[in-house]
């Protein structure tokens, strides 16, 4: 199992050829109280960097981009029912969707956890 991050503050946790995607703790902190979230439907084909989900806080609306290309396995209904879950557990229970990783080579373009945490400190 490996964890990667994008410069847009998404994370993807990969097991075999399945990846779970969410937003980082830094991202939820910056957004503030999250009041709305939408996950992509099962079967949707996503390109790397494509808008995959919506997240809105009291202050702002943001798109969540897919860190890799592939087909959506499932969205997380829990974040739709209780968007604050993304604030409480952004890198765990507050995941957005699972995706079948089409091209593992795309993962090499992402940051590993240590690199991301170091980079975030510089923002």
């Amino acid at each position: 199992m490996s964890l990667y991050f994008t410069k847009d503050h998404e994370w993807i946790r990969v097991e075999g050829n399945s990846g779970t995607v969410g937003i980082s703790s830094h991202a939820q902190e910056a957004l503030g109280d999250i009041v709305f979230a939408e996950a992509p439907p099962t079967g949707r084909e996503l390109r790397k960097g494509e808008e995959a989900a919506v997240v809105e806080s009291v202050k702002a609306a943001s798109d969540v981009y897919s860190p890799v290309s592939g087909s959506v396995i499932e969205g997380n209904p829990a974040i739709v029912d209780d968007p604050a879950l993304i604030n409480h557990d952004p890198e765990g229970a507050g995941w957005f969707f699972k995706i079948e990783v089409e091209d593992p080579a795309e993962l090499a373009e992402l940051m590993d956890e240590a690199a991301y945490r170091d980079w975030v400190k510089t923002l």
Binding site: H9, I23, V35, F36, E51, E56, V58, A61, S62, P83
Partner: protein, 380 residues
Amino acid sequence: MSNEVHSGPPDQTQELEKLPLDSWHRAHGGRMVPFAGYEMPVQYEGIIAEHLWTRENAGLFDVSHMGQLLIGGGNTDTALEQLMPGDFQALGDMKPKYSLLLDEDGGIIDDLMATRRGSDFYVVVNGATKLGDIDEFQHRLPREVVVDYMKEQALLALQGPRAAEVLETIVPGVSQLSFMEAGPFHALGAPLWISRSGYTGEDGFEISVAGNAVEKVADAVIAHDLVKPIGLGARDSLRLEAGLPLYGHDLDRETTPVMAGLNFAINKRRRAEGGFAGALRILAELENGPPQKRVGFDVDGRQPVREGALILDGEGNELGKITSGGFSPSLQRPIAMGYVAAPFAEVGTSLKLEQRGKLFEARVVAMPFVPHRYYRKGAA
């Protein structure tokens, strides 16, 4: 994720000013953002928690970015009546009055509070517009009327159902004020000008104090268990629930007081006599109805619909735009306000809102969304 989260440092081309309480905000965990030319706290522990705290207890807001002016000399009351539709001649001493600074076409340059202090008027205007307002006053008032910008004066607001009992412990006698009454007080070694007013729909006070004494006042207020510091984020969601317009969003030079539903700010005598900037147009709108009206919306679903969203009729024709919208922490659902063509402004009208290509069902509702709870002496 897109934009906001990683938008990088704010535009640095404008030099931001610091509030007198700048380090106080940071020490209390305030997250500072650029607003109206200042670095201001948008939130401390979180907008929803701060919002709900203010509705239940008391919240302390720093609104020192607002412009505090003292206007005097000559016949200030009749001079002000040239630019604003309020009855300043009849305005009693120390009774704050909501009014509107108008351009010659009746468009709103700013909304403000004006309080008579003898023959002078203490005027509080919006932060982002204050320099332009001062310019308007100086150029359009007679030469003998002098506008003093009290730049060194800070302004705090203490808002919420427990505000009066808290402030009474620091400023004895202050709870004797009724809603929209003001007066001079002295506490903590400093002169204070306090009015019972605010921008949340709750009971509360606005406290004007010298910038070099404001920290003492803020410390004394916040020492109370019932008080927490509240940022700009909750200030915005509180005033939206209260149905109160925000200048630069819900009001601007394209809107008149009648379009904005602020008819209460145009006094009876002024309606009869006119004689204020834009009176021709404004009196005609009072008589015949305005082309557009500001209305409130209940929005179906859970997704916030924000400023800039289009308002459509059943056939997809554009009727106007949302000027403020967001998630209501008290109601736990999205609410919004905007302008629609007058025939569609009736309460109960079903309309559609369009945001980023997505349609939302909405209904025109009466405002405020959350009832006002002002304190009026003698009322039950």
